[in-house]
């Protein structure tokens, strides 16, 4: 597939000068060094292919929005270049620079004109925009009376009125209600199938997994990781935990079946083994049957004295959707005063009520209900197993309900 967007060594520096006279002098050939510089982006390079959906993730201030603005063209890079083959449409922040005195319709003409559409084109697109925004009579009222969700609807409807070659979406969808979010994602997905490349900034890691083929993690203005969604998202989660706890390491490896194992933590307590056994025979299980009684056994030992220990589990399917998760804090089974060298064994008997497919358990050893306080050890996808439906009736979906049809016929 062809490359639509080529970002090459892009850097953006916000310079502050002691006085603006120095800045003005620089426009006319002087080279006065600024008093302080802030590099929002530093040497970022990547390419986006046609039809590829890319998510930019990272903490606040990582440079995501600046990068989007540079790609859109509203902010110019200090160095480097952005080459686009085709038309870009972007929804940055709220609204599209709407004039609050104008009606929705007038604003569509105004903002649409700024986007390079002719008035005739906009008149032609107008019914579709009005239809998609679904804001009813507000469409002909001034935008100052709009709620933020309505502004987002109008902006999204306009920005996606005509399929662009690159669509850039910056978090704006988070203000819409779930109905509109759903509708917007459907349109984004449809565009993607028709060959539009998508660049999305989001903090919802669920969206990332659901929509994107590729994720770039930005940190302090540079590309920290660029790869498949599960790999980067798990790394990002581990990195957030790391921020809270400086003495932490992150290791990642991918097993033969494609599951990515991410291990991170400060390792005061470490996981020795995690096994899935048949509850009756205690034989190890790689492939479980629907309805089988299973036992998940985890053995850990502590290297240091720690005040509190909580074990959490998360069960996810292949696409990263969480099937189930809880921890011993929620079940009120927190262990207190663990001494160095102690061995702790956790047994979790359960019935396999999952549908056929591949699943993974991610265990985490922490000191409270979140992993942010003390993350001793966290392994994404530590134990992978398959579920097959051999003796039951056929069903689809990822959970097995012990349900039976009761049919009665009368007459």
């Amino acid at each position: 597939m062809s490359v639509v967007l080529d970002i090459s060594h892009v850097s953006k520096c916000y310079a502050a000068y002691r006085s603006n006279l120095q800045r003005f002098a620089n426009w006319f050939g002087a080279s006065i060094a600024p008093e302080s510089e802030f590099w929002a982006n530093r040497d970022i390079s990547f390419q986006v292919k046609q039809g590829e959906a890319l998510a930019l993730i990272g903490q606040n201030g990582a440079g995501k929005s600046t990068l989007l603005k540079i790609i859109t063209g509203t902010v110019r890079p200090t160095s480097g270049s952005v080459t686009v083959a085709g038309r870009i449409s972007a929804i940055l922040e709220l609204g599209l620079g709407f004039n609050s005195e104008f009606t929705g319709r007038q604003n569509i003409y105004q903002a649409g004109g700024l986007m390079g559409f002719s008035q005739a084109e906009l008149t032609e697109l107008m019914p579709a925009i009005e239809d998609f925004a679904e804001i009813g009579e507000f469409f002909d009222q001034p935008t100052r009376v709009y709620s933020s969700g309505m502004q987002a609807r109008l902006a999204f409807a306009l920005a996606t009125a005509k399929r662009p070659d690159v669509l850039i979406v910056d978090e704006v969808l988070s203000v819409g209600d779930s109905y509109f979010q759903h509708k917007s994602f459907d349109r984004i997905r449809q565009f993607k199938q028709e060959g539009t490349s998508i660049i999305l900034v989001t903090h919802s890691l669920g969206d990332v997994r659901a929509l994107c083929d590729r994720v770039i993690l930005l940190d302090k203005g540079t590309v920290m990781k660029d790869g498949a969604p599960d790999e980067v998202v798990d790394y990002y989660n581990a990195m957030i935990a790391e921020r809270e706890n400086a003495k932490m390491t992150v290791e990642q490896k991918r097993n033969q079946n494609g599951w990515l194992n991410t291990r991170s933590g400060s390792f005061e307590v470490v996981i020795d083994s995690i096994m899935l056994l048949d509850a009756k025979t205690l034989d190890p299980v790689n492939t479980a049957r629907v309805g089988q009684q299973l036992l998940l056994k985890l053995v850990a030992h502590s290297n240091q004295d720690i005040p509190r220990l909580v074990l959490g589990y998360m069960l996810r399917d292949r696409a990263g959707h969480v099937m189930w998760g809880t921890n011993t804090w929620h079940t009120k089974q927190v262990i207190e005063n663990v001494t160095a060298g102690e061995k702790i064994e956790y047994d979790l008997p359960f019935t396999c009520t999952l549908g056929p497919g591949s699943y993974a358990f991610s265990p985490t050893l922490v000191s409270s209900d979140t992993h942010l306080e003390n993350n001793y050890e966290w392994q994404d996808n530590a134990l992978v197993f398959d579920v097959v439906n051999v003796d039951g009736t056929f069903f689809i979906g990822s959970s097995w309900l012990d349900a039976k049809f009761m049919i009665s016929r009368q007459g």
Binding site: F24, T74, R76, A90, G95, G97, Q110, S118, Q119
Partner: protein
């Protein structure tokens, strides 16, 4: 830069229409205000100053001379100050659009230019009607207003865009200019005639590039006379320099422009 502006020409035209409409949204008299404003101002001045100035009007002996003189000067000044004041503030005013949509920013002052020119022509039409009430019939000399408009708007556009770019970085520029424009107004013979100015201030008035341009309007509208072409040279030079300077500054500043908004 100019090529991309050309690509946006339809947008510029549509925006000029929208601008005229938008400026008077939510007001009852709507579009009448842009004519009523300068007329009311001229009326105030002529009520206050008519008796004082009447005697001093040169070459003409009519009660209507002073109001006509005043309206001509005010029309010229109005065009100048509208383009100037709005260009200074335009980049800040449209900051939110500039941050969200990528488009040639030069469109913005061009829209102002176009909208101000249309306003101005409408105002001149209204003035022509008022002149008829005074029994003063417009002559062919009105055609001299065309180069006048051009020179005034070029100068205002050049200075306005130049200061508008600076204003994004140093917001004091706009504040300073509101004061300065008042001073400039009073140093231009609009309300008074040149002959009443004390000798020591004369050079200042002569150096003022707006003086010959306002004169052009007054000569054409009141006296049906052609302007003295050589007197326009300073305005041509200043206008040309201002436009070139504003383009250079705009080009140099535009990478940083959005950053400072």
């Amino acid at each position: 830069m100019l090529k991309s502006v050309w690509h946006y020409r339809h947008f510029i035209l549509a925006s000029i229409r929208g601008d005229l409409r938008g400026r008077f949204a939510r007001s009852r008299l709507g579009a009448f205000w842009f004519i009523l404003h300068p007329l009311a101002q001229a009326l105030i001045f002529s009520i206050v100053l008519a008796e004082v100035m009447h005697a001093r009007m040169p070459n003409i002996d009519s009660r209507a001379a002073y109001p006509i003189y005043l309206l001509s000067g005010m029309a010229a000044w109005g065009l100048f100050s509208e383009i100037m004041n709005r260009s200074i503030g335009i980049f800040i005013e449209q900051g939110s659009a500039m941050k969200k949509i990528s488009f040639p920013k030069l469109c913005l002052p061009l829209i102002i230019w176009g909208s101000a020119l249309i306003n101005h022509v409408l105002l001149l039409a209204a003035i022509a009607v008022i002149f008829l009430f005074f029994g003063h019939y417009p002559g062919l000399a009105w055609l001299y207003l065309i180069p006048g408009m051009l020179l005034i708007s070029v100068m205002a556009f050049g200075i306005g865009v130049f200061l508008g770019v600076l204003n994004v970085f140093v917001r004091d520029v706009a504040q300073f200019m509101t004061v300065f424009m008042q001073l400039w107004f009073w140093f231009t013979p609009i309300v008074y005639v040149k002959s009443v100015v004390p000798e020591k201030f004369r050079p200042l008035i002569e150096l003022n590039p707006m003086t010959p341009l306002v004169n052009l309007y007054q000569d054409a509208l009141l006296l049906n006379q052609a302007p003295s072409w050589p007197s326009l040279w300073p305005a041509v030079v200043i206008g040309g320099v201002a436009v070139v300077l504003s383009f250079v500054v705009f080009r140099r500043a535009s990478p940083e422009l959005v950053d400072a908004l």
